[in-house]
C-alpha cells in the first residue's frame, strides 16, 4: 500500500460523452466534470463520485468492480479498457470517456453488450454439443481429461465478454455482422474441447465467411487491448488455418 507513490493531488478534468437516446431532445455531447483525485482512485471511484456529488443522472455500468465481470468496458482516452481497474494516476490531468462503439447505446457510458454477446453465442452456438448431455450418469466418475488440455481450455475460457476487442477491431467497427475476436476465440475454445462433438466442417458453417474468421484483417487491436491478455492473435491464426484446411 505504502509503496504506491503519493503524488500531489490533482484536479482531474474528465470529459464524458452524455447522451440519452430515450429522450428525443438529447444530442450527444461531451460534458466536462472536475474531480479531486484521491489515493488509489480508479475510474469506478471517480465516476461514482461524479454521480454522487455532481450529476445523479450520469449512467454507467459496474458490477464486480474487480475486473472479473466485464461490465465496465469503455473508451478511455481513445482506447477500450475496463474502467474499474483503470487507476486515474495512470491518466493525464484531462481525459475523455466514451461508451464502447459497436454496441447499442443505453445512455452515457452504458452500452448493451449483453444483447450483442447473447446474439453472438446463439449464432456461434458457444456451448458443448454432445448428444448425451441430458443423459449423463451423474453417479459415475467423471471422464478423465489431460491436465494440460484442461488448462489450455481455461486459458481461452477466461474471456469476460467485455466487448473491448470489438471496440478495438477495425473490422468490427466497419461491419456490424463481424463476430470479432470474442466470437472466434470461443469457437477455438469449443473446438479444443474433446467434449464437444462438432468437427471442423461444423465450425466452418459457423465462421467460414467474411463475418467470421475470413473477415479478420489481423489489425491486432483485439490482441493488444484485451484486458484479460487472451492469446487472440494466435487463436485466430490457428482457426484460419484449420478453416482453410476443411
Amino acid at each position: 500500500m505504502d509503496n504506491i507513490p503519493v503524488r500531489q493531488h490533482r484536479t482531474l478534468t474528465i470529459n464524458i460523452l452524455r447522451h440519452n437516446p430515450a429522450d428525443g431532445d438529447s444530442q450527444p455531447r461531451l460534458q466536462a466534470f472536475e474531480v479531486d483525485e484521491t489515493d488509489a482512485m480508479t475510474l469506478f471511484i471517480a465516476l461514482n463520485v461524479i454521480r454522487e456529488e455532481q450529476d445523479p443522472t450520469l449512467t454507467f455500468d459496474f458490477v464486480c468492480r474487480a475486473g472479473i465481470c466485464g461490465s465496465c468496458g469503455m473508451i478511455i482516452n481513445g482506447r477500450p479498457g475496463l474502467a474499474c481497474r483503470t487507476l486515474t494516476r495512470d491518466l493525464p490531468d484531462e481525459f475523455t470517456l466514451l461508451p464502447l462503439p459497436g454496441f447499442e447505446l443505453i445512455a452515457d457510458l452504458s452500452v448493451n453488450t449483453g444483447k450483442w454477446m447473447r446474439g453472438m453465442a446463439e449464432r456461434l452456438e458457444t456451448w458443448v454439443h454432445a448428444s448425451d448431455l441430458a443423459g449423463v450418469d451423474l453417479d459415475q466418475m467423471e471422464q478423465p481429461m489431460d491436465p494440460h488440455l484442461a488448462e489450455q481450455i481455461y486459458e481461452l475460457e477466461r474471456c469476460i465478454e467485455c466487448g473491448c476487442c470489438i471496440a478495438a477491431c477495425g473490422t468490427a467497427q466497419m461491419r456490424d455482422d463481424f463476430v470479432g475476436a470474442v466470437g472466434l476465440n470461443q469457437v477455438t475454445r469449443f473446438r479444443l474441447d474433446p467434449r464437444d462433438q462438432r468437427d471442423d466442417s461444423d465450425f466452418y458453417q459457423l465462421v467460414g465467411d467474411d463475418s467470421g474468421v475470413f473477415g479478420c484483417m489481423t489489425l491486432l487491436g483485439c490482441e493488444d487491448m484485451c484486458p484479460k491478455d487472451l492469446p487472440l492473435a494466435t487463436q485466430i491464426a490457428f482457426l484460419r488455418r484449420r478453416m482453410v484446411a476443411v
Partner: protein, 660 residues
C-alpha cells in the same frame, strides 16, 4: 404493456437461478429469467477459489466422502444448519460437479507424479497416483478435513457461470436482461409472478407465472466494505419480505471474508491460504498458529476473520494511510504457482495495488462477504408461507450454512440447490397446486400500485439524497453490525437505521428523465435495503449469544440451551417500523451430529442437555444395529434420501470403490 405469461419466472441470472431454470426447462416448462445485468456478469462469476465436492481424487482428498463433507459443513455452521439439507447437499455436490464437467467446465485435473506443495509454511513433495490422472483435482480450503475444493485455476465461478449460461442459451431460455423485479404479485396466499422495471427504458412490465423463483443473491451492499458486486443489494429477499407473508431466516448471520484487499474490499480467494499462503501481522509475524494451533490459517472464515480483527485490536496491525490492516503472504508459493493457479489474484494485485504478489505482501482485512440468511424455504426450496414462491442460492435460507458458511460451499450450493429446486418447481407446476387461474386484474392492480409508488418517489419534493443516505446506512452496518457486535452498538445501529428510514421518505430527485435513471433506482431501492439492514441489526441485537459469524462481545459463548434456534424475520404490516422476529427451534434429537466443539475456535459453549441425550441415543442405536457400512449407519441415524428428487438418489462412485 400486457403481462408476459410464463410457467416459471426466475428472478436472478446467476448460477442458482440458471440451473433451476434449466431444470424446469428440461421438464418441458416455459421459463423466463429476469436479470439486473447480462446473466454472465452475475456475481457468481466472482467466485474464485473452488467448489466443494467430496470427489477424493487427488492425494489431499483421498478418503473423502459425503460423511466428512457433511460433518465439516455442520461444524462450520456452528450447528445452525438444517442437517437434512446439509446431507442432501453433500450427497448432491459430486453429481453437480460431474454434470458441469460434462457440460464443459474445464476443471483443473490431477497430474500424476511428483509435485511440490506448500503446507504450514514448508515445502513438501507429494506424489499423485497414476489412477487419478486426469480426474478432477481439488485444493485445500478452510474448515475442511480434506482437500475438497474443486477448481478451475482461480476463475472457478467464471468458468461455471459461462458453462451454465451457455447451456441455458442452448436450452433456449430467454433472459430478460436489465429487468429488475420490483414487486411480487400475490393474492395473500399464492404468488403468481412479479412486476418488473426495465432499467433501460424505465417501463414497467408484469410477468404472470405459475411458479416464481427468487435467485437474486445476497445483500452485501448494505455494508460499506464488502467483497460483493455492486448489484448485490438483496432486492429479491426484500421483495419477499415486503409481501408480508414470506419470512427471512437467520438474517444476522453475515459472513466476513478474511482476505478482502485493503481498503477496497476486493476479494482475494481463500485458495491463497488453501495453497499454503500465510497471514502476517505488522511486524511480519505469522500469528494464526498462536490463536488456532489446530487449523491455523485454515480455520473457518468466521474464526479467522475474528482472530484477525482481534490481532489488529491488540495493536499488531500494519498501518497505512488508509488505516490498519494485515498481510497475506503468498510469495512462498512461487511465481509459477501464482501465475497458473492464482492468476486472477495476480491480476487483481497488479491492477488495484500495483504490486507483484510473487515478490510483495498483499494488504488484507476482513470484509463483508456472504449472507447466510435469506428467504426461508423448506428443504426443497419452497416458501412455506406463500405458495408458488421458491428461493434458491444465496437469496435463500433453506439453511445449509447455519451461522457460517465454509469457503467453496456457496458455488456448490448454487448448483446443487438449482438442481433440486428446478425439480421441485417442475413437480409443483405439474401438481394441482401449480395450476394458476390468471388474474390480469391482480396483475394490473400490482402494476398500478408500483407505478404510483414510483411516481410518488419521482415527484417527492424532499431534500434528502438517496446516495447519501445509502452511504450512511452502509457506514452504520460496517461500523456497528460488523464482526464484533454488542448490545450498545447494535442499539445505536437500529436507532440510526430507523432515523434513516424516516429520512428516506423525504428523498427528492433532481431529474425525472426518461430512460435509465440511476437516481430513481437508488431512491426506490434504499427503503428496501434499509428493511434488510434492520432485519440484520434487530436479529443481531436479540440474539444474545455468539454463533458462527454472529459474535456478541457481550455474550461470547455459543448458547445451545437458549439459542439453538433459527431466526425468522417478517414484515407483516407495511407501516411497521421494525421487523417482527420469531424463532424456530432446531431439534437436536433428530440430528445426525449433535452439537459439540467445532475443532477450532472457542471451546467453551453452553451445551443443551439434548446434545448428550442424542449422543447416547446414537451410540445405543449403533450398538444395537451391529456392524454397518457407512451408508447403512447414516440411514439409521438420519435418513434423508427420500427428500431428494428421484433422479438424484444414486450412490456416488469414487476412485477405488470396490463394488463399483
Amino acid at each position: 404493456m400486457s403481462p408476459i405469461v410464463t410457467d416459471v419466472l426466475v428472478i436472478g441470472g446467476g448460477l442458482a437461478g440458471q440451473r433451476a431454470a434449466i431444470g424446469a426447462r428440461r421438464r418441458g416448462l416455459d421459463v423466463t429469467v429476469l436479470s439486473l445485468v447480462p446473466a454472465k456478469r452475475s456475481h457468481s462469476a466472482a467466485a474464485q477459489g473452488g467448489m466443494q465436492a467430496s470427489l477424493g481424487n487427488c492425494l489431499g482428498g483421498a478418503g473423502d466422502n459425503e460423511d466428512l463433507h457433511f460433518a465439516d459443513t455442520v461444524r462450520g455452521s456452528d450447528w445452525g444448519a438444517d442437517q437434512d439439507v446439509v446431507r442432501m447437499f453433500a450427497h448432491m455436490a459430486p453429481k453437480a460437479i460431474r454434470e458441469l464437467a460434462a457440460w464443459g467446465v474445464p476443471w483443473s485435473r490431477v497430474q500424476k507424479g511428483e509435485h511440490q506443495i506448500t503446507e504450514d509454511g514448508q515445502k513438501k513433495t507429494i506424489r499423485e497416483a497414476d489412477a487419478a490422472h486426469g480426474l478432477i483435482t481439488s485444493r485445500n480450503f478452510g474448515g475442511t478435513a480434506k482437500w475438497r475444493a474443486c477448481y478451475v485455476s482461480d476463475g472457478t465461478g467464471h468458468a461455471m457461470l459461462y458453462t451454465m449460461s451457455n447451456q441455458a442459451i442452448a436450452a433456449g431460455i430467454p433472459v430478460h436482461e436489465r429487468m429488475e423485479a420490483i414487486a411480487l404479485i400475490h393474492d395473500g396466499e399464492r404468488c403468481c409472478g412479479a412486476v418488473a422495471r426495465n432499467l433501460m427504458t424505465g417501463e414497467l412490465q408484469t410477468y404472470l407465472a405459475r411458479a416464481t423463483c427468487v435467485a437474486s443473491g445476497g445483500f452485501g451492499r448494505i455494508y460499506r466494505v464488502s467483497t460483493n458486486a455492486v448489484i448485490n443489494e438483496g432486492l429479491g429477499a426484500a421483495l419477499a419480505l415486503e409481501t408480508g407473508l414470506a419470512r427471512l431466516g437467520n438474517m444476522e448471520a453475515v459472513q466476513f471474508h478474511p482476505t478482502g484487499i485493503f481498503p477496497s474490499g476486493i476479494l482475494v480467494t481463500e485458495g491463497c491460504r488453501g495453497d499454503g499462503g500465510l497471514l502476517l501481522d505488522g511486524s511480519g509475524h505469522r500469528f494464526m498458529p498462536d490463536y488456532e494451533p489446530e487449523k491455523r490459517e485454515l480455520a473457518s472464515r468466521d474464526v479467522v476473520s475474528r482472530r484477525m480483527e482481534e490481532h489488529i485490536a491488540a495493536g499488531h496491525g500494519a498501518s497505512s494511510r488508509f488505516g490498519e490492516h494485515l498481510w497475506l503472504d503468498i510469495r512462498l508459493l512461487g511465481r509459477d504457482h501464482i501465475n497458473s493457479k492464482l492468476r486472477e489474484v495476480s491480476e487483481i494485485c497488479h491492477y488495484f495495488l500495483g504490486i507483484d504478489p510473487a515478490e510483495e505482501l498483499i494488504p488484507v482485512r476482513p470484509a463483508q462477504h456472504y449472507s447466510m440468511g435469506g428467504i426461508r424455504t423448506d428443504r426443497t426450496g419452497q416458501c412455506p408461507s406463500l405458495s408458488g414462491l421458491f428461493a434458491v442460492g444465496e437469496a435463500a435460507c433453506w439453511d445449509m450454512h447455519g451461522f457460517n458458511r465454509l469457503g467453496g460451499n456457496s458455488v456448490a450450493e448454487t448448483v446443487v440447490a438449482g438442481m433440486i429446486v428446478g425439480e421441485t418447481i417442475a413437480d409443483y407446476c405439474e401438481s394441482d397446486q401449480g395450476e394458476l387461474t390468471l388474474s390480469t386484474a391482480l396483475a394490473a392492480d400490482f402494476q398500478a400500485r408500483e407505478a404510483a409508488r414510483l411516481r410518488s418517489i419521482a415527484t417527492n419534493p424532499g431534500a434528502e439524497k438517496a446516495v447519501e443516505l445509502t452511504r450512511q446506512m452502509q457506514q452504520i452496518m460496517t461500523d456497528k453490525v460488523g464482526i464484533f457486535r454488542s448490545a450498545e452498538r447494535l442499539e445505536e445501529a437500529v436507532a440510526g437505521l430507523l432515523a434513516l428510514q424516516s429520512r428516506a421518505s423525504r428523498i427528492g430527485l433532481s431529474s425525472a428523465r426518461k430512460g435509465p435513471n440511476p437516481e430513481l433506482v437508488a431512491a426506490y431501492r434504499l427503503p428496501r435495503m434499509l428493511k434488510l439492514a434492520l432485519c440484520v441489526a434487530c436479529g443481531a441485537l436479540q440474539r444474545t449469544e455468539s454463533r458462527g459469524a454472529h459474535y456478541r462481545a457481550d455474550y461470547p459463548q455459543r448458547n445451545d440451551q437458549q439459542w439453538l434456534q433459527r431466526t425468522l424475520t417478517s414484515w407483516p404490516e407495511q407501516d411497521q417500523e421494525q421487523p417482527t422476529i420469531d424463532y424456530e427451534p432446531l431439534d437436536i434429537m433428530s440430528m445426525e451430529l449433535p452439537p459439540g466443539w467445532r475443532g477450532y475456535g472457542a471451546r467453551d459453549f453452553i451445551a443443551h442437555p439434548d446434545s448428550e441425550a442424542r449422543q447416547a441415543q446414537i451410540d445405543a442405536l449403533l450398538a444395537q444395529a451391529g456392524p454397518l457400512d457407512a451408508r447403512q449407519r447414516q440411514a439409521l441415524l438420519m435418513p434423508f434420501e427420500h427428500f431428494l428428487p428421484g433422479i438424484y438418489r444414486g450412490r456416488n462412485q469414487r476412485l477405488g470403490d470396490t463394488d463399483g
